[in-house]
């Protein structure tokens, strides 16, 4: 998480009509809080996390903690008070509104084919939630179509570099890779993963991996294009791109929530 954690009160004091919790996710255990009540809640435009869990104070639940999940297809309108004067049981923590990712993120993930000496880089998922302070009839929750661009890479000599991109809830991706190194080929591949709760140090972690484009040499001056559709390839938590050359090799990935953007 970013530090210090974004707080809702400065948004309220400065007369913003909303509180935006926009922070990179560093581990799946990050829990964020808001000490302000809200009239509507939705996934923010820049979120890579698709499903966001919310907890709020409810007198009718034994622990006083009620849960709800919002996503790009389901926001929530209705007043929820931050019950700062009350406490959850048995933790004894103030009854604020809590947010955390319902999607699993594993920063220790390594592909099955990961060999000693290989390198892996993660684009950390952005956790973006918007809490509105004023009543709204409805909230438009879809996320933006994100665009990721890479060009030069730090690849260990004779090894493979893996780049992991968040893909939670996305239904479409366009991948465009061109080898602009005029001398060496670049072995390029695409796979995807659905994270599992597992021990990454074990020889058999439980993550589910799918090969989308088997690694193959891309000759200098040539390109590879691939469209990934949920109806054809499935839905994944992350996309994994593998390369063997430092480039230059422009790699552009557009992701969208709709299968036909």
């Amino acid at each position: 998480m970013s530090f210090p954690q974004p707080e809702a009160t400065p948004y309220a004091v400065n007369n913003y009509g909303f509180f935006r919790l926009n922070t990179p996710l560093s581990c799946p255990g990050d829990i964020y809080e808001s000490d302000q009540g809200g009239h509507a809640f939705c996934v923010g435009p820049n979120s890579d996390i698709a499903n966001v869990n919310m907890a709020y104070f409810d007198d009718q639940v034994p622990t006083f903690m009620q849960f709800m999940t919002i996503s790009p297809t389901r926001s929530f309108t209705g007043q929820i008070n931050a019950r700062n004067e009350a406490t959850y049981v048995p933790a004894g923590r103030p009854g604020r509104i809590l947010f955390w990712s319902d999607d699993i993120y594993d920063p220790n993930f390594k592909p099955r084919v990961f060999a000693p000496g290989d390198a892996i880089q993660f684009v950390p998922p952005q956790f973006d939630v918007v809490q509105y302070f004023t009543p709204l009839a409805s909230v438009v929750p879809p996320r933006i179509n994100k665009e990721f661009v890479f060009q030069n890479y730090v690849v260990p000599g004779g090894h493979v570099l893996y780049i992991v991109l968040p893909y939670y809830g996305r239904r479409y991706a366009f991948v465009d890779f061109t080898n602009r190194n005029n001398v060496d080929p670049n072995t390029f591949g695409i796979s995807a993963v659905n994270y599992a709760i597992t021990d990454d140090s074990s020889p058999n972690p439980y993550h589910q991996e799918t090969t989308i484009l088997a690694p193959a040499a891309v000759a200098p001056g040539t390109s590879v294009r691939r469209i990934i559709r949920s109806t054809v390839d499935g839905m994944f938590d992350a996309l994994i791109f593998s390369l063997t050359n430092g480039g230059p090799a422009p790699l552009r990935i557009d992701v969208a929530d709709q299968d036909e953007p």
Binding site: D35, G37, E85
Partner: protein
């Protein structure tokens, strides 16, 4: 020698300066210009406890409050409004101006569980003070005269 400014009477009724004598200030029969001025401000609620939002020691006033965030914020004339959701005060609705008429000698209290901006508009009722003052003065004179005349047996003769 320059002319002295005209003598103006105070806007408050005269009171005794004897500290050993308990007294209540009488309503003023006149108003000052400052009392006709509206007060416009934004109040930031403080989490926990009940705070005094407006103190009507000298003047009747209409206090209009508009909650800018979700709250909850309770307002009332009891000194203890907590817990905020207990019903001891009225909960403000977001974006809805809510007027309260505060009589002289009373206070308006506010309580919240978080920091919330509340738009405050205070419109004094100086004429109400004046009317009360005049009515009080008149009530001290009018009933006394006929009673004295009647008791003297001089009416109708």
């Amino acid at each position: 020698m320059p002319a002295l400014p005209p003598v103006r009477s105070g806007k408050l009724a005269p009171v005794s300066l004897d500290p050993s004598v308990a007294q209540v200030r009488a309503p003023a029969a006149t108003t000052g210009d400052a009392e006709n001025r509206n007060e416009v401000s934004t109040y930031l609620t403080k989490p926990g406890g009940t705070q005094i939002l407006y103190n009507a020691d000298r003047m009747w006033a209409k206090v209009t409050l508009t909650l800018k965030t979700a709250g909850p914020v309770a307002v009332g004339q009891h000194a203890n409004l907590t817990p905020v959701l207990s019903g001891r005060g009225q909960l403000l609705q977001t974006g809805v101006p809510t007027p309260f008429n505060v009589a002289k000698g009373h206070r308006l209290y506010i309580a919240a569980t978080s920091v919330n901006p509340v738009a405050v508009l205070i419109e004094a009722y100086p004429w109400l003070e004046t009317i009360t003052g005049l009515a009080g003065a008149a009530s001290g004179i009018v009933p006394a005269a006929p009673a004295k005349m009647l008791s003297a047996g001089k009416v109708g003769r």
